[in-house]
Symmetry: D2
Subunit: 367 residues, 4 copies
């Protein structure tokens, strides 16, 4: 059903399985004239790379990206950009039980139901490694947004019961701790919490928040292609995400109009601003020029070392223990994926928006 | 940017403004051979009709739907189904301030930013009346699902602080009270709460929950076109929705793998079941055969009678009072819209899924 | 399969059957700020209207178009433009044989094969009246192109053996004769030829040529979305078209590179021109700035009064005579449809092209 | 503008430049359970490989395809199939004049107009090597069609003035001669003709014909997504194609209804057949069950050794001679590309068609 292609004018087509030969992405619709190097992409890919701490899987992955097309003399040419990472760490092992039993919380059962066949090695297409293509594509989108002065950054907002303290928010801290939290104290607390989860052969969920700064107003559509609707799809399409919200999100359910409405005002320079931002930067599906603020709820890693009850492919009850070392938390590695999907979505809508007015069209065609 | 078209194989294209001549939808991709009458559609449309109580706007709307094409001798022919509702209640009034001032919490400002021009009468395309096309299209989708034995129903889960009590859940009650709550006591309590909001010239938010029963397993895709990702877009595209979640949703952030994983089991007949349904019926983007459970957070009606501060189109500060009678709550009227968007999304993915296996393809082509 | 929606950024969704209640189109993605009136659309619709001469069907059709949405105070607002024409002339008649027999050269048999059900009245969705939606949508596209200084016009190049004489080409003449030929002598000759066909209870084919003037260079894509590829789909999607060519078209098969290559040159003002235009204005899928020249081959009207052999729905041999008065030629009424489809296609690609370069993107977002 | 993605349910996303690192394709939407090996793909790729005769370029290309994803234990899994060919023969050379001058008949000028930047090495993305991705994707589609009993084959119908003789048609001969002609005598004659063109430093055009046998009836749509309209886009998207026709094609312009209509009949087994096939297997946009017969007109190779006049990038007149050895004819190498694009298009429409009737939908979902 061609469900690995995303985007209308800026389209990413990802491919690859956890233990196949390679993984990658084709980015079609990148404008010509953008400076792009492999290190632009590698920098983002490295942020999702495991093997960096006791909280992430031990698997050593080089994950060195190659750009195979679409770039000439350091600049994009407007043709498809194909990027690829070889799978190097394919230790042969016995996939025995995983091959014929369904891990709770994983896509094994549903994959078999849909396709009747399944590459069970490391989760196949439903592995976290699937996000390599997303992040590589997102790196191109991030470069475009940077050229337009738009900034996208995400961070861990909570891990289990440990939440960041808004008063201690320090953006510079995000990439300095393994939790990707903008609050160093919360990060330490979260590490302690995760140690207990490891000890208990258990795992933890958490929340990622993503901010878009300097967003032009008026991007997105009024009906189905609302900016927030597209962001919701983009974020919910990331594995393990179970909820999405914008601005005050679910809290609006207990709010009132007099509180929730953001009144318009003028700043010192006479620019339109909002006094508050309960809306999270989007009104009626279109950006309003204030910060876009979205959140994703991430479920606990389903791979835990405890014995679990399940069934086999041929319909028999069984117990299974998932061997190997597993992250007790998905959140930190997913932070960069949230950024990537947000960037891809915004770029696509920025491009679609360019034909929304006759005067824009005339400007481009010099008329 | 063609943002009023939704769906790939089952596509709805909606049109119309609040105070324009008419509103409608073209449904393209409905299979041939489905029995369909105007009353099938009218029944769903009537559930979003205002004017039924003190909690909904007083505007009298007939909203009688006409099917203009695609049905012959009571059955769909496979060609586009065009459906339309005339706008009857277009009392001429002075739109003065709304025409040149931006209502807080509305799309007035962003609409002007995007298009540079705006049909300000009644909110234009950003009016709640825009959902007429969605609901009419959804009625066709619901009829298809019914033929397949799949049931979709939504209800009000909470209004402000008033939540339904799971112990009192009675599905039959939903359409019996104006709150569309499956708990008659909560409904009464919610009515009382809304009366206080009306008295305070204020409004309330709430939560809608939607259930899909008898869903076949394996529907949805593993990467971008995950079933839950598409549902998120569908639901977040409804005006006033600020959050979406599935299963345990945001609660997973504080859960652990050992609790959140749903173990597989067999029922008495040897069918695969899950012991719990924290996942809300979708694993790895594909339906797992258990109930799909989704929720939408709806913001309080932004039109309130209190004086609010805002700015005018030409950048001057002003105060405004939104005259007329307004619903103190959006939730009850949005329940049927959530059902409609859910049904449209599921039908589209059911159709896309038909070519997911070579044996399905061979079956259809008798090979 | 949603096959009545066409276009990516400028999308038309047509609907309606020959003898249904109405026919129409929803145009989604029209930029805001375009002046548009019903008479802009009516003017084009009138050119496809029958009942004007002995060579076109006698059916009286008002076909007065209504714009139901998307236009406010004479300008487009950027929201979907819904346009509709009521079916007035639905004389009740006995469709007996057509209902259960398959007319040679018509879609009756294939429609039944695809859908298993068929609205047989007047050809249903496969009627020439289906083009009403195309032409109304095309009228909007033509208005956009006019604003950009791009001109699209088509005409009859040949009817049966009667060809226009390039030496007598007079563009002003096109709309002056019922054949829509730019050569008044050829038009007279064609009328005589058609009279013989009517007398013989037969019909004639012909060729339509379409020119696009002042096309900006660089529109279209290098691979699948070549401008000529999209034009080919657009034109071949018109009923009765059996061939499409651009520039020298099929004649290139017997040409040589030294003749067929168009050498580049400079005009007096130093602008790039081509010395010849064998390519028909498109090189490598992208417009080269010279005139786009395309042609469509139209088959003879399949409805002829002679007795024909065929089969019935339940698989029995039969003879049939198609009663009523039929055009002996499709070509003249299809001229405006070719213009419409050409205009829609070019507008869609002009819009898609706006994000092809980083400097274009920066221009729109004032950076 | 994402113009390198083609297909709705069976989508191919191609990438790569003539002298970049590699070329390839991602095929998304291939059903699970199809047996697929690299040799299935290599066999088709080898037919477009140059270096086989004096009539094709001398460049040695291994073009060994690798399947990087989507296949497990010899069968497709339903996930994207990524296929790639490394560019091995990247002899460094002086691209001097090509880098700053526009070759007549090539996309150099239009590429610069669209993107403002161009990978001039070997034509970049507009090279014939771009078809590697199409053919690899087409090989997957051909395998699917084979499983369904549908056969697609193309051949050279004419080269310059040399046409095949229908009386000598021998399908087995097609792959036996370098011209890919089903008539060995015509093939010899064509070789002689091409020798004269080489001697004259010139090139020749020609016509390719493609046949689809055992096509089920009812595939394609009645309006925009007509089967022939989609085939037209697919074929016209191949570089150098200047015309497309189906059945009698342009000859219908001089035909009459009484001749052109194909009467329906019954064969000895009572199956519906047509007495003739002027329509080329498609009526009203849908397959009628008889052979689909389409033709493409291919222009002469634009790279010729003669001196040609043109202009430089900075707008100066110049003369240029295109060095190196060039095919005097594109036709034979394009035969397999026509097959590939035909197969991809038919597979995509076969899949879309599966939801055209409620009874099909019910069959798949066992209801």
């Amino acid at each position: 059903m061609a469900g690995s292609v995303y985007g209308k004018l800026f389209a990413v087509s990802t491919w690859g399985e956890s233990h196949g030969k390679a993984l990658g992405v084709v980015v079609d619709g990148c404008p010509a004239g953008l400076e792009l190097t492999e290190s632009d992409v590698q920098r983002m890919l490295d942020r999702r790379k495991p093997g960096q701490s006791q909280f992430t899987t031990a698997r050593k992955e080089g994950d060195e990206v190659q750009i195979l097309s679409g770039v000439f003399e350091g600049k994009t040419t407007g043709t498809p950009i194909s990027m690829m990472v070889w799978n190097k760490d394919q230790r042969s092992r016995d996939y025995g039980q995983i091959a014929y039993s369904y891990r709770p919380g994983h896509a094994d059962y549903t994959f078999d139901q849909k396709y009747g066949i399944r590459d069970y090695r490391g989760g196949g297409r439903s592995s976290g490694r699937e996000t390599i293509g997303r992040v590589a594509g997102g790196a191109v989108a991030m470069k475009i947004l940077k050229e337009l002065g738009i900034e996208v950054y995400a961070y861990t907002k909570s891990i289990g019961p440990v939440q960041i303290d808004p008063a201690k928010f320090n953006k510079e801290e995000i990439l300095n701790n393994k939790m990707y939290m903008p609050d160093v104290d919360a990060a330490k607390e979260a590490e302690e919490y995760l140690k207990t989860k490891i000890h208990e052969q258990d795992s933890s969920g958490g929340i990622i928040e993503c901010i878009v700064k300097n967003m032009p107003a008026g991007i997105g559509d009024t009906v189905f292609d609302k900016l927030d609707a597209n962001l919701a799809k983009a974020i919910m399409s990331i594995g393990a995400v179970k909820g999405f919200e914008i601005g005050d999100g679910f809290a609006v359910a207990e709010s009132t109009g007099s509180v929730n409405n953001d009144e318009f005002d003028l700043d010192a320079d006479g620019h339109v601003i909002k006094k508050t931002n309960h809306a999270g930067g989007i009104l009626g599906g279109m950006s309003d020029g204030s910060d876009i603020i979205i959140r994703a709820a991430i479920k606990p890693t389903p791979s835990i070392s405890r014995e679990q009850h399940t069934i086999t492919k041929d319909g028999k009850k069984t117990d299974m223990v998932i061997h190997g070392r597993h992250d007790p938390i998905i959140v930190p590695r997913a932070v960069v994926v949230v950024e990537a999907m947000t960037a891809i979505t915004i770029v696509d809508l920025l491009f679609s928006n360019m034909a929304s007015r006759m005067d824009y069209v005339k400007t481009i065609y010099n008329l």
